[in-house]
């Protein structure tokens, strides 16, 4: 089934999220929809799948104009979308989720649905037990369920919005395998939205690139990464320069530290981080690196050992005391821990005003906010509620909220979910502070990021720590082995 959009416009208030977009997608092919955060990719896809109505423009299916006004209508027209955060119901079982929305009678045929579910998941090697609740599934499994649910509804155009964020490498290869089969064997049209170049290069037949609401380029693969980056950003980008800074005094020290969660224990860790040093923590999620991070900022009480900031013993002191001692902390869950959903930008800046007066001077707060918005290039207004900003802009706010010259920055996944340009911008900010002597401790799931920016790397595997002192002479493969737990024994033997 081919699908075409012509002259699509969509605005949200002053934001022109889709500006005169015309595109055609043929069956049997996989299309990458590329663009940085806020480019308008999700908006276009939501229009295609009936979640949003375009302000103007038309949609054609197999050359005929179609008019649907809700997702159900789009599905009847053969177009289904897997949202970035899969739209399912947490307490429902997998089977209930699969059945909900099917055009059955009052009493669904549960047995037939169960068989269809099992058949489809077997075909694509998905791992879905019909009787467990959605809450117990990983994001990857929830995506798998959405995909087969849409297939069972007979969609011929499958849209996936950023499906590779938050799933494991194995789930990703299973996903890519099934998308290729759907396109080649079943002749589906697949639209794959992403800001990750390598995913698009690996999977797609063609790409369309959006920038600031406009279609700025189209290409058949193969194309080079550089060409795509040039289309996405208008120019080619090199990582920001980062010369080593001569390390200064010890800023953070942990002595014989033991920290534990219910999953993992880190025992007897000793570490010193000096001013101007960047230390990256690598490891699979939950290998102990987050325990060290949280203990270093006073959010987790060590079972044993000491934590020192600038030589001062901070063990057992509250988070607030760490902040006052010059620690800046960026939490992984931006909207859960770092920012307050429902508060505006101005309110956020008023909250961290160093002069904690009982009455807020709103005029001053607003002025500060406007200055920060300019300085940090934030796409938003002082009275925008924080949750209406895109992920990249939220991360910028988080950076802007940090003290301007902390002794140490402790950052959990500082660029998770961001596009190349936003990530690069965040690092420019971090490195600018480092050149003034700030030490940096960060975690990332992106090995390239860790290799690029770290002066030293600590690899965590099941609570055991291996130090890599010379990232320049280490390869990603070697690091990967350490993360997977291979090589720890070798090191011990050597």
């Amino acid at each position: 089934m081919s699908i075409e959009v012509r002259h699509i416009h969509k605005s949200f208030g002053p934001v022109h999220a889709n500006n005169d977009i015309s595109l055609k997608f043929d069956d049997g092919r996989i299309y990458g929809i590329l663009g940085e955060n806020g480019a308008g990719k999700s908006t276009l896809m939501k229009i295609l799948s009936g979640f949003y109505l375009p302000d103007s423009g038309e949609i054609f299916v197999d050359g005929k104009p179609v008019h649907y006004t809700d997702p159900q209508g789009a599905i009847e027209a053969g177009i289904g979308m897997l949202q970035q955060d899969p739209l399912d119901i947490g307490p429902f079982t997998v089977l209930e989720n699969f059945v909900y929305g099917r055009p059955d009678g009052a009493l669904p045929d549960w047995q037939a649905a169960r068989e269809q579910l099992q058949q489809l998941s077997a075909r694509f090697h998905f791992d879905l037990n019909p009787d467990v609740t959605i809450e117990r599934l990983s994001i990857g499994q929830r995506q798998q369920l959405e995909i087969i649910r849409l297939l069972a509804l007979g969609v011929r155009v499958l849209i996936l919005d950023e499906p590779t964020t938050g799933i494991s490498a194995l789930q990703k290869s299973v996903l890519f395998g099934s998308l290729k089969r759907l396109a080649k064997e079943d002749g589906l049209t697949v639209l794959f939205v992403s800001h990750k170049l390598e995913d698009v290069l690996e999977l797609c037949d063609e790409v369309a690139v959006l920038r600031l609401g406009r279609l700025v380029g189209q290409a058949k693969l193969p194309v080079t990464t550089d060409e795509l980056v040039a289309m996405m950003f208008g120019q080619e980008l090199a990582p920001p320069s980062h010369e080593k800074v001569a390390p200064g005094d010890v800023v953070l020290e942990v002595r014989d530290l033991t920290v534990a969660s219910h999953r993992v224990t880190v025992e007897g860790l000793n570490l010193q981080i000096r001013a101007g040093e960047v230390v990256g923590l690598a490891g699979l999620d939950g290998s102990g690196q987050e325990l060290l991070m949280r203990a270093s900022v006073g959010l987790l009480k060590p079972l044993k050992g000491r934590v020192l900031i600038n030589g001062q013993d901070m063990t057992g002191r509250p988070f607030r005391a760490f902040l006052e001692a010059g620690v800046g902390f960026g939490a992984a869950g931006r909207l859960e821990e770092g920012l307050v959903s429902g508060l505006t930008l101005t309110e956020h800046f008023a909250l961290v005003d160093p002069e904690q007066r009982a009455w807020i001077d709103w005029e001053r707060a607003r002025a500060v906010t406007e200055e920060r918005i300019n300085h940090y290039n934030i796409y938003g207004r002082p009275d925008s509620p924080i949750e209406t900003l895109s992920g990249g802009n939220q991360q910028r706010v988080l950076m802007a909220l940090m003290p301007s010259s902390p002794h140490i920055l402790v950052l959990e996944h500082p660029t998770r979910g961001l596009d190349v340009e936003s990530a690069r911008w965040i690092w420019e900010q971090i490195l600018a502070r480092r050149s003034e002597g700030t030490a940096v401790l960060f975690t990332s799931a992106d090995l390239d990021e860790i290799m690029t920016y770290s002066d030293r790397i600590l690899v965590f595997y099941a609570g055991q720590v291996t130090e890599v002192t010379e990232p320049e002479s280490t390869t990603v493969e070697e690091l990967g082995h350490l993360i997977g737990g291979q090589g720890i024994r070798k090191e011990a033997a050597a």
Partner: protein, 322 residues
């Protein structure tokens, strides 16, 4: 043995309005709406139900009138919420007070007079089953209705596609919309159904369980109890009904104790409330989680499913499309 069956039978009968009201509220909350007005709507429905039955001489007509009252009050809450963007809890609370006062005021000339009631109708054959017959099958029609309501609600909720839509709307309206459910219409419908059950529960006091009307009303406080029972029951019809029977049982126990000792009445009457608060603390505190964790592995999953008591995630939240 006969004595025990008789006591259990009367507990089943006395629990009936609580069962009906709390299942009604379960339906309403499951679709994402809190009807906080229960204590007031039950009283007003009881009064209107009694007066209608008294004036018309027809208990069924009274029941119908009470049902309509409950439905209208619930609809006020959901209209105020969806159309006027008012907070459900605030509106519900105001309506509680308003309805209770209205009941006392309008009903003042009809207190302590006999009126039509629903007679006991033993169910042929079943009523003669030893023991169980006495407990379950020698009652008035409203008691039987509560049984049908209980199983019917469970069946619709967990076995039909309407039930999927109902639960989805209360849990994640955006998903419900994506699956083709009309979120607001679904909320209107099930809030009305739930409210109707609350009204019916109110009328069933006046026309069957504690016949007549009085100032202050005999069922005062039961609306709040029903709201607590919904939480205790984890928004699941069977557990909710279990909670209602448990509470009626505790009440019966308290009144027996009171008759056989010379403890002050007020103190004994307070016992079921205190026990209710304790059970609420138990189910909502970290206690359950600790209890589950010490259980052996395979039992954990069963326990967790049964004791799970998360409120519907979209309870009280508004839904709009963009």
């Amino acid at each position: 043995m006969d004595e025990l069956a008789r006591i259990l039978g009367s507990i089943v009968s006395n629990a009936t309005p609580l069962v009906i009201a709390s299942i009604g509220e379960t339906i309403t909350e499951r679709v994402g709406v809190v009807n906080l007005s229960l204590d007031g709507s039950i009283a007003l429905a009881a009064m209107v139900g009694f007066v209608t039955a008294y004036l018309s001489g027809n208990a069924l007509l009274g029941l119908l009138a009470g049902t309509v009252i409950g439905m209208l009050i619930a609809l006020l809450i959901v209209v105020a919420n969806i159309e006027l963007k008012q907070d459900q809890v605030a509106v519900g609370f105001v309506l509680t007070l308003l309805a209770a006062d209205l009941a006392q005021f309008l009903g003042q000339d009809y207190t302590r007079i006999p009126g039509p009631t629903f007679p006991t109708v033993p169910i042929p054959v079943l009523a003669d089953v030893p023991f169980l017959g006495q407990i379950f099958f020698r009652h008035n029609l409203l008691v039987y209705f509560s049984f049908v309501l209980l199983f019917g609600t469970w069946f619709v909720m967990y076995r039909t596609r309407y039930g999927l839509a109902l639960r989805a709307v209360g849990e994640r309206p955006a998903t419900a919309f994506a699956r083709g459910t009309n979120v607001n219409r679904t909320r209107y419908f099930y809030t009305a159904v739930g409210g109707a059950m609350v009204g019916l529960a109110g009328a069933s006091y006046a026309l069957a369980i504690k016949p007549g009307w009085a100032n202050p009303p005999v069922m005062r406080g039961d609306g709040w109890i029903a709201l607590a029972i919904v939480i205790f029951g984890g928004w699941h019809p069977f557990r909710v009904a279990f909670g209602a029977y448990l509470f009626a049982g505790l009440r019966a126990l308290a009144s027996t104790i009171q008759q056989q000792t010379d403890l002050p009445l007020v103190l004994v009457n307070a016992v079921p409330w205190v026990l209710m608060i304790l059970t609420l603390l138990l189910v909502s505190g970290g206690f359950v989680e600790r209890l589950i964790r010490v259980a052996p592995g395979p039992v954990q999953r069963v326990l967790r499913n049964f004791l799970r008591s998360e409120p519907p995630a979209a309870l009280g939240a508004e839904f709009s499309r963009e």
